[in-house]
């Protein structure tokens, strides 16, 4: 009874310990371990034995191509799906994160949570722009942009179905506020006219946004005159003159937010305190970085949970696949293993060699999966419902960290899938094995 | 004894890659109903091939085989399977029992091809096992039986659907002397008391002594040509 309990605990430890180790393993440790292993196999007696047994094992793989591929493909699947899903989350978060910085701040109506819910009047916008912490340009004007965000419904290129796209009316100083924005085609819109420039992302996702085309918004005709690239979430927007957008959407002169550039990042606290103490103002301020992070949090968390859950379940399936394969491998080589042990090879070389073989297959599978995920998904653009209930265009982001993470999963599966058969291989009674002859 | 098996001008050629090997050359043979025939010969003489052809496991390249009036050389694969099910019982050197089934289930296998109900099948299988002296081992798996016992289960399987012909390929090849004697006695009993026609391939002259007649094959032909068998 106690023995069974001990065995069960041992089995659980065999599963949990490798996982714990791998979670904390930094990438540079892997080549170090590989070098140490190679050294051990070259220079110690037990190591040399292990290497010879491993060679025999690897040499038989071509005969067992079917079952070896089960391990490789199974693990490749796990890593591929995992990396793809997490890359989706990483890409979305990165797009939004880049959209913000620590030295710009955004003000929306108190309690609004997001720009689309907010309404600010002209007086409020002026007061906010005139705060002492707001940076002034060469002409002494505060670098502040009162903006009006509305949503329009346009058909997506891919599905033909309508989706929400964000239209942002921007102020004169908006270009100084966002120096990363570059006009890549056409020209800027002229103030006072019904003209729009489209972000690169929006242009790829939605139909009918080419330069020269017209858009009918609320019965009024607008023309597209240019295209810009901002490298962040603003790429999903259409930009126009705040006042004109306001009149089309019957908003009068109100706006949804004011974005300002601060003298420096450290000035934010003073800025916020100043706004809070001004009784005339009912606004919430935050750095644009914090603002966009908050918007992204929900979705990125969901994607991460989804990716990890799917990954775990697939990994369990892959572990059983590996167990099957390696148990079968050990079974077919019982005779050889028994012969080796009759000759005098001890248990350790056999165990380590089976483990090595599985890990090698696992690394192969992990690399394959990572490669496929990277080749197919890196920079794959997609869009989803993001800030302000409108489409945010983002690119999948297959980072080296993700690839390393995927490889670690592969290693974990390989270790767990190989450990038990390896132990079994070491315990086959020599005489029973030889009888198989 | 009238002829159950009539073989005329039987030839069998195997193609190994581009080479053609003639294993049987124009064999003529009659086997009487109720006979116990031993086929002997050196390895490569074609005795197993002849056995396989008589048992309907293979088709000849040339010539005819008529068993109980039926020309089995003219039957297609599906028809041969049906013919085998009702006319032949096989006993192999290595028993070839299904290891995960009990003795009873193994014996029952040929009956699955009939229309008998489950209870009837079980009854017939038990009867066959009793006949071979293993009635009390019906629930044992092959791994729990000795070599001789396994062979007897195989014989029970071979007779359970009451075939006219029993075809045995080296049935005692893997057994010790005592078990071999038991198996051969059983075959003899089935022949004498139950009228089964038994054709046995063996390399052991002592085993051949249990048979009524012995024929020798060498290089694909019968040493005594066109041997007609008397009762």
């Amino acid at each position: 009874m106690l023995r069974k309990l001990g065995l069960a605990l041992g089995a659980v430890a065999c599963v949990l310990v490798p996982i714990a180790v791998l979670i904390v393993l930094p990438w540079w440790l892997l080549p170090v371990i590989a070098v140490l292993l190679a050294g051990w196999m070259a220079f110690t007696r037990v190591g040399v034995q292990t290497w010879s047994v491993t060679q025999v094992g690897i040499a038989t793989i071509p005969q067992r191509l079917g079952s070896a591929s089960v391990v490789v493909v199974g693990i490749a699947g796990v890593v591929g799906v995992l990396v793809a899903l997490l890359a989706m989350g990483a890409g979305f978060a990165a797009t939004l994160r880049q959209s913000g910085s620590d030295d710009t701040a955004i003000a929306i109506r108190a309690g609004a949570q997001t720009e689309i819910n907010s309404v600010l009047d002209h007086a409020t916008a002026t007061l906010v722009s005139q705060a002492p912490q707001v940076l002034k340009n060469a002409q002494g004007e505060p670098i502040a942009s009162p903006e009006l965000v509305v949503v329009a419904s346009l058909p997506k290129k891919a599905s033909g179905l309508d989706a929400n796209v964000e239209i942002r009316g921007i102020g004169e100083r908006a270009w100084e506020l966002r120096p990363n924005v570059k006009l890549i085609a056409g020209r800027k819109f002229a103030p006072g006219l019904r003209e729009l420039i489209v972000g690169k992302g929006a242009a790829t996702q939605f139909a009918g946004l080419g330069i020269g085309s017209s858009l009918k918004l609320n019965g009024q005709l607008w023309s597209i005159v240019g295209e810009f690239d901002s490298g962040d979430a603003n790429n999903s927007d259409l930009w126009g003159d705040t006042a004109v957008v306001g009149s089309t959407y019957r908003r009068g002169s109100s706006m949804t937010s004011v974005t300002v550039r601060l003298t420096d990042a450290a000035a934010f606290d003073a800025f916020k305190a100043g706004i809070a103490s001004d009784r005339r103002l009912q606004v919430d301020v935050s750095t644009t970085r914090d603002y966009y992070n908050a918007q992204a949090r929900n979705l990125t968390q969901t994607i991460r949970v989804l990716g990890t859950t799917v990954g775990i379940i697939m990994a369990i399936g892959a572990v059983f696949g590996a167990l099957n394969t390696m148990y079968a491998a050990v079974a077919t080589r019982t005779r050889e293993i028994a012969t080796l042990r009759a000759i005098g090879f001890r248990g350790v070389p056999v165990v380590v060699s089976v483990l090595l073989e599985t890990i090698l297959l696992a690394i192969l599978g992990g690399a394959l999966g990572a490669l496929i995920a990277w080749a197919v998904f890196d920079n794959y653009t997609a869009s989803t419902l993001g800030t302000n209930f409108s489409q945010v265009v983002f690119a999948f982001h297959v980072t080296p960290a993700l690839l390393w993470g995927g490889l670690k999963w592969a290693l974990a599966i390989g270790v767990i899938g190989g450990l038990f058969p390896a132990l079994r291989a070491a315990r086959v009674p020599v005489t029973a094995g030889l009888r198989e002859l | 004894m009238d002829a159950l098996v009539e073989i005329r001008n039987l030839s069998k050629v195997y193609e190994r890659g581009t080479q053609k090997v003639e294993v049987l050359h124009r064999v003529n043979l009659d086997i009487g109903n109720g006979d116990f025939l031993a086929l002997m010969g050196p390895s490569g003489s074609g005795k197993t091939t002849l056995l396989n052809l008589i048992g309907g496991l293979d088709s000849p390249t040339d010539g005819s085989i008529q068993i109980a009036g039926e020309r089995i050389d003219q039957l297609g694969e599906g028809a041969l399977a049906k013919w085998r099910a009702s006319n032949v019982g096989f006993v192999f050197q290595f028993y070839n029992l299904l290891p995960m089934l009990t003795a009873r289930r193994n014996v029952e296998l040929p009956l699955l091809l009939t229309r008998l109900g489950s209870a009837q099948r079980k009854r017939n299988a038990d009867i066959a096992l009793q006949l071979v002296g293993l009635g009390d081992r019906a629930a044992h798996k092959p791994s729990e039986l000795s070599g001789g016992q396994q062979q007897r289960v195989a014989i029970a399987r071979a007779i359970v659907s009451d075939p006219t012909l029993l075809v045995c390929d080296e049935p005692t090849g893997d057994l010790d002397r005592q078990s071999a004697a038991d198996v051969l006695t059983l075959l003899q009993q089935l022949n004498r008391e139950h009228g089964k026609t038994v054709i046995m391939v063996t390399h052991d002259p002592k085993a051949a002594e249990f048979a009524r007649h012995t024929l020798h094959l060498d290089k694909g032909t019968l040493v005594e040509d066109a041997a007609k068998v008397e009762a």
Binding site: G111, I313, Y327 | -
Partner: protein
């Protein structure tokens, strides 16, 4: 079937291998159950028995733009229309943004068009009589431990009150529950009187967020929708009318092509599964060549051998899929109990079971085909001789 014990014996032959393969199949179908549950949830978002005979009318330009209240009578007069009501999204917060639930200002006859929200008659009257009255769903009431007579303050995110306050206070006068327990998610909502809303708001007065129209004949739904949109054509408040089901679906489709993502993941999973079980079956048959030969000598036809192998592989897959779907049911059930109805998962019902088992059978046949053919075609003589 009388051959059943042969199939089972074949599976039991190598217990460990069968068990491990079974677990892999289980994992695959567990995933299938979970993902299909999510996909079905999004597919059916907004559908209910009454969902197809209601139309939602919003501004064509943007769902954030409101529509004039004057449209009400014109829609009511449109042929095919049984009844019309209207509502506004309020977007108020109770104490903390994390406590998010839907809250809307609705017209008096709103509940007439939503019979699936069961509200006792006297509470309905109280709602009508109390200007600041609110009707809340059963689940929400339980979550916050409210009772009739409580005052519920909501922080406005969009609409401050006249006088500058951001806090709107409502009196809880009615509790509704959903007729269909499967749609209990819709109880996480609060409704209050539109008249109070319009009176106390600082902008947009006289405008509604959307109209809900009940059609007389649901087969005429699209025609009525077009007729309603024709009323506002070329005006400054062009409308877009569609069935409630389509409206909900359009939101989902903007989120992500859930079907595509689920399909891609399951594609990868089933591909690896086919490889895995294919390998197991190939091994199993290869080991049993002598036994298959014996069966053929006994008289089993080629077709029966084919059938035996295919049954074995199908049985393995079906058993694994059943275990996997049962596990998925358990997981979905516990998630829904733990996280309430906020979780986007449909209970694992008949549809998912049917699809799952059918897939299992198909994969089983696919995977068993090659080994079965091999077993079927083996030459008895060669197999017996060990060639």
């Amino acid at each position: 079937m009388k051959y059943l014990h042969l199939v089972l014996a074949a599976l039991v032959r190598r217990k460990t291998r069968t068990l491990f393969t079974l677990f892999s199949v289980l994992a695959a179908f567990l995933l299938f159950g979970l993902l299909d549950s999510v996909r079905t949830f999004f597919d059916q978002a907004g559908s209910g028995v009454a969902g197809v005979d209601r139309l939602i009318t919003i501004s064509r330009v943007s769902f954030t733009l409101s529509l004039p209240k004057s449209l009400l009578q014109r829609i009511q007069a449109t042929p095919g229309v049984a009844e019309v009501t209207y509502a506004n999204w309020f977007g108020g917060i109770y104490q903390d943004p994390k406590n998010f639930f839907a809250n809307q200002a609705v017209a008096e006859n709103f509940f007439d068009l939503y019979p699936e929200r069961i509200l006792p008659a006297e509470q309905r009257r109280a709602f009508h009589d109390t200007r600041t009255g609110a009707v809340v769903g059963q689940s929400l009431v339980e979550k916050f431990h409210w009772k009739i007579g409580d005052k519920i303050p909501l922080q406005a995110t969009i609409f401050p009150q006249k006088g500058g306050s951001n806090t709107w206070t409502f009196d809880l006068v009615g509790i509704y529950r959903m007729a269909d327990p499967k749609t209990r998610a819709q109880e996480n909502a609060l409704f209050f009187n539109w008249d109070y809303f319009d009176e106390a708001r600082t902008f947009g007065n006289g405008n509604v967020g959307w109209y809900v129209t009940k059609v007389r004949d649901r087969n005429q739904a699209n025609r009525v929708a077009q007729a309603i949109d024709a009323l506002s054509e070329n005006s400054d408040h062009e409308t877009k009318t569609q069935t409630e089901q389509a409206f909900a679906a359009s939101f989902v489709s903007q989120f992500a092509d859930i079907g595509l993502i689920v399909g891609a993941i399951m594609g990868a999973v089933f591909f690896t599964l086919v490889l895995l079980t294919g390998n197991t079956m190939a091994q199993a048959v290869r080991e049993r060549i002598p036994e298959i030969a014996v069966l053929k000598t006994i008289g089993f036809t080629n077709r029966s051998v084919l059938g035996l192998v295919l049954s074995e592989s199908a049985a393995l897959l079906v058993l694994g899929s059943v275990l996997g779907l049962v596990s998925a049911s358990i997981v979905v059930g516990s998630l829904r109990t733990a996280f309430g109805t906020g979780i986007p998962m449909q209970e694992i019902g008949g549809g998912i079971w049917l699809r799952g088992v059918l897939l299992a059978v198909l994969i089983g046949l696919l995977v068993g085909a090659l080994p079965a053919l091999r077993g079927m075609r083996l030459r008895i003589v060669d197999a017996l001789a060990g060639r």
